[in-house]
Symmetry: C2
Subunit: 475 residues, 2 copies
């Protein structure tokens, strides 16, 4: 693969986080800009992370009975107008095909920004009886939302995602599915991405266009901003009524189904970068790292060094570790920098003296600690270390996050909190005016609401609080 | 999932093969028509086949050093005009985005019909030195080609595929890659899809728009027609020159790279249906079957039957068999028909008398043979039977195919051959006129050329033959 220079520095993470992010994305060859404004190319190193995410997540979906399918990219524009809120939310962002096969089309076609409409159309054909329920389908696909300001992984006109779409006989079942998938996302974020997330219901203002209720999971980035990393929508009968998704129930009566949808995307790669990265570059959790370990030979030209490195590589592979041996001509120091920037969780250094002593050096990317280990049984040592790193990274991220959750009782407190790079918990009366006022004065938005009421009064208007809300600036 | 009636018959395979195909596709719930003409929805049962195909093929790519990546869906129209033959071949089929985000675009964008142009554009940015070579990248993606006549899996405006794109320092290396990937396809087709394929070079007329040479693999369907199931293109420096893909070679000279591309698609699902299917419906090779075995309880209400079925299911799962237990209220006869139509390789029947005797009945879908087996060790028996079926299906398909390859020495022979549902091998002088004449008079096209010269003369003009060609009608 093409190599760019790793010698130039990436921007300082403390003083210029946005530039640090862009530098890391580009210099580690995760991603590049496409020729059309707002598009991205996911390069092999970035795509390998996505493949690991897909692999882990897909297994979790299937364990709940979900099957994969594939629905068409192009949706008749008329479908969008069938659900009033939905069209309002998505029409302005849609890319439209007007010509095909050398002719103008009779009806313009939208490139899917999300697939509730076209999937609803198909479900209305497939669903007949209560025996056909539930319908539990997911698709892995590309979607397109024309955005003005874009950033790799976080906001691009095209991105990759999964979207689950389910159909149920009752409100209870559909709500249960909505929450179940939110929990799948949360467990995945914590145990695979090592990112602690805050889950809860979205406010009316922030919910999905066409949903009855949206539940989201929010992840804290190192600059204290929030990244919405997954959402699960309870759609009630909104789309069932718009697309005539009906079934003959046990009692012989035709009824509308209750539907849900839920999605996560390549945004999660952005979350991994910004939740774990440091001054040296990426820090990847072992479960999604393309390479979990890199072997760097020291004094590679000395007899036996490369042979021993190859032997260790083969042992690690047999132990199920994704490993790369860097046997290029670059200096060890250069290799250390390169693979640290690329976030490989464990570095194994092997030189002539190590071999003589039956030892190797192990470097942990997350803590930057270096320790000796015996060559004998090194595959088990590394495998175990990877498990420890996975757990420790979650714990470290949780500590960082918890230190940056503050409470506020008034607008000044909210402003001071978000200015300080925190998530701010505050009471809220539930009215749109107060929500808008916070946005206007602090540039923070309501991320999610949580169950417990921590304050009696709304931090804005002082009236009785109905909810506790996490406010934060967000990507 | 939604159930359609399986009671109605599918059309007769002998007398109405096209209708049989459509019926099988729809009634087994592999696929459905999308709302936009020419589009398809790949339903869970069909998509599970695609997932198995992807899984098997992706591992083979990676074993050759190929990495996956993802390039944008939308390509500036101007890119197409950079390679003269390419634009001529693809421009008429392109779907065009003219509006996005509520505005008319400055330059119309094509939905990728294939990605040589946009990937070439990126490679020109990434490639600098001979050290960066080879570049070996594949992407799994959707593509769009606006077609007038469409059929599920075989020809639809949008389909799913993989496209590999590689870059090399020399002609030799690029040619080697082209042939290597053709061989990967062939091994895959035979050992996974159980379809014997004929591989060879395409004629100038049939080659990929922009290629120096195209190599294809052709599979014989049960009606004797050919289905192009994969192609590998040697692109020479055509795209390198069009997109400025250059590198600084060891000798300090800037040189254009040599590139290749190679692809297979959801068409392969059509190949599986038409190469193996029979009067009862699908016959799926075990390696791609969503379910490799179905357990049907006999007298399911008798004590112990469902328990024993569940126990066997769990044993089979542990042995790595993809298995489903049909414990619905339908009669065993109905279930037999349903799962035979769905092509499940092995059916396990378990009833009270079987349990008493410590036996079960095993039905092989490919041969429709039924044999007793001991319940004790049934998981090994079934696993071994699946291996046997996989091998036997390839062998059976090879026999069917070899019986239907005939030789012809003149146009009358070619016509008679293809009318009889055969592949016809004939000598060809190499001129376009003779190729066109065969197409005009027999509706057969040159599928691939083979190495050995079997005839001294061209079957059309009688001049000296330069090639032996497989002629066939094709999907």
């Amino acid at each position: 693969m093409a190599k760019e220079s790793f010698v130039e520095n990436i921007a300082d993470i403390e003083t210029d986080f946005p530039q640090w992010y862009t530098d890391v994305c580009k210099k580690t060859q995760l991603v590049d800009y496409g020729p059309v404004k707002g598009t991205m190319v996911i390069r092999p190193y970035g795509y390998a992370i996505w493949e690991n995410i897909q692999h882990e997540m897909d297994a979790r979906f299937k364990a709940t009975g979900v099957q994969n399918a594939y629905f068409p990219l192009l949706i008749p524009m008329s479908f969008f107008t069938k659900e009033a809120e939905h069209v309002e939310g998505f029409a302005p962002e849609v890319a439209v095909v007007t010509h095909a096969g050398g002719e103008e089309l009779a009806e313009p076609l939208a490139i899917r920004p999300t697939s509730e409409t076209i999937i609803g159309n198909m479900y209305s054909k497939w669903l007949q009886s209560y025996r056909d329920l539930p319908i539990l389908i997911n698709q892995w696909a590309n979607v397109m939302r024309w955005e003005k300001t874009t950033r790799p992984f976080l906001r691009t006109s095209e991105f990759l995602w999964q979207e689950g779409h389910t159909c149920h006989a009752s409100e209870e079942e559909a709500m249960e599915e909505t929450i179940k998938m939110l929990e799948v996302y949360k467990e995945f974020a914590e145990n695979v991405l090592a990112i602690p997330v805050i889950c809860g219901k979205k406010t009316e203002k922030e919910k999905f266009a066409g949903a009855v209720a949206t539940y989201g999971m929010e992840a804290m980035m190192k600059d204290g901003k929030s990244l919405q990393s997954g959402t699960s929508h309870y759609l009630g009968q909104n789309f069932a009524k718009a697309f005539d998704i009906k079934f003959l129930d046990k009692d012989g009566v035709q009824k509308y189904a209750y539907t849900t949808s839920w999605g996560t995307s390549t945004r999660m790669i952005g979350a991994v970068i910004m939740a774990h990265g440091d001054a040296r570059g990426l820090v990847l959790p072992p479960k999604v790292a393309p390479y979990q370990a890199v072997i760097v030979p020291i004094a590679a030209k000395k007899a036996g060094v490369l042979e021993k490195c190859a032997e260790v590589k083969s042992l690690l592979e047999k132990a199920g570790v994704r490993v790369v041996l860097d046997d290029t001509d670059n200096s060890p120091g250069w290799k250390f920098n390169e693979w640290e920037m690329k976030g490989v969780p464990v570095r194994v250094e092997i030189g002539p003296r190590d071999i003589e002593a039956g030892k190797a050096m192990l470097f942990r990317r997350d803590t930057c600690e270096k320790n000796e280990c015996a060559l004998d049984g090194i595959e088990d040592t590394v495998a175990k270390l990877l498990e420890i790193i996975q757990v420790d990274m979650l714990e470290a991220a949780r500590c960082r996050r918890d230190e940056k959750i503050v409470r506020a009782k008034d607008m000044a407190g909210i402003l001071a909190g978000v200015e300080g790079g925190n998530f701010v918990k505050a009471g809220w009366c539930g009215c749109r005016e107060c929500e808008d006022k916070i946005k206007a004065e602090t540039n923070a938005t309501a991320r999610v609401m949580c169950e417990e009421l921590i304050d009696e009064f709304c931090a804005v208007c002082g009236k009785k609080a109905k909810h506790t809300v996490y406010f934060a600036r967000a990507y």
